[in-house]
Amino acid sequence: MTLNLNKKIINILIIFFLGIQLTIYIYNQKPLTENFSQKKITVENFSSIVLSKSGINKIGSEKLNKIDEDNIFLEGNSYLENKDYKIYGKNISINLSKEISNSDDPVEVINSMGTLKGKGFKNLDYDGKIIFKGEVNFVINK
């Protein structure tokens, strides 16, 4: 009789703990779903890989702000990198669907020809063109 009672208590405890684990699991999943459904997302010290027509791009920033489905804003010190160049700048806007990125802040670009410093840029990635605005100084490797 006592043995049966003990078994029942153990079974109840097992079911109770399984219930708690299930609750914890569901509770942990919930915030993730909420974040992805939000329109604005901010991530600090962010770096990621983006696949575009021109190839794989690596992007990173002190703070990434998702504006909407197509637009992100890299706040503070940021970079864009692919097989052809590394762009180091500040406050870079990226339109993912149009494959355009731009900034009005000073920028430094390193490519296989040399190091370029400009006052801002507009990168038309789909067209393979980068327009550097204002005074530009491009030091060519020997």
Partner: protein, 156 residues
Amino acid sequence: MSSINKYLFFFIYLIFFPNAYSESFVKAGDSLIWDSENKSYTALGDVEFKNDKFIAFSDKMLAYYKEEKNEEIFTKIELFDNVIIKFNDEIFKGDYAIYTRKDNIIKLTGNVSIESPSRLLTGNELIADIDNNKRILNSGNKDSLVEVLLENNAKD
């Protein structure tokens, strides 16, 4: 102490001066466009270009490059409007210039002049063969070719 300073200055000079002198660059006042599809750079506004051969100034520059051993190398440079090219003690001027790297030839057209310490020549077209140290100055007709001999201190 002063001799140490002299040695230090000489040492710094040896390190930095050759690098500063041989630095190649492109400077633009308004903008620069890197077109990786057409492999070119377009510079606009008070353009300055320097390589190991000459230094050039113009309003616009279009430079074509090729990729070689993971490096980009300029192959052809076009300069537009108010072109001034300084090569050793010579100054070439014109409306348009094209430089090709493979043969090291600079060709200038439109209101061309070539100025050296002793003479000034003007015409319509100048071909400067850098490797063979040859200059060919052409004109539309014989009358338009002008040669001016400058005295050594005439510019001072």
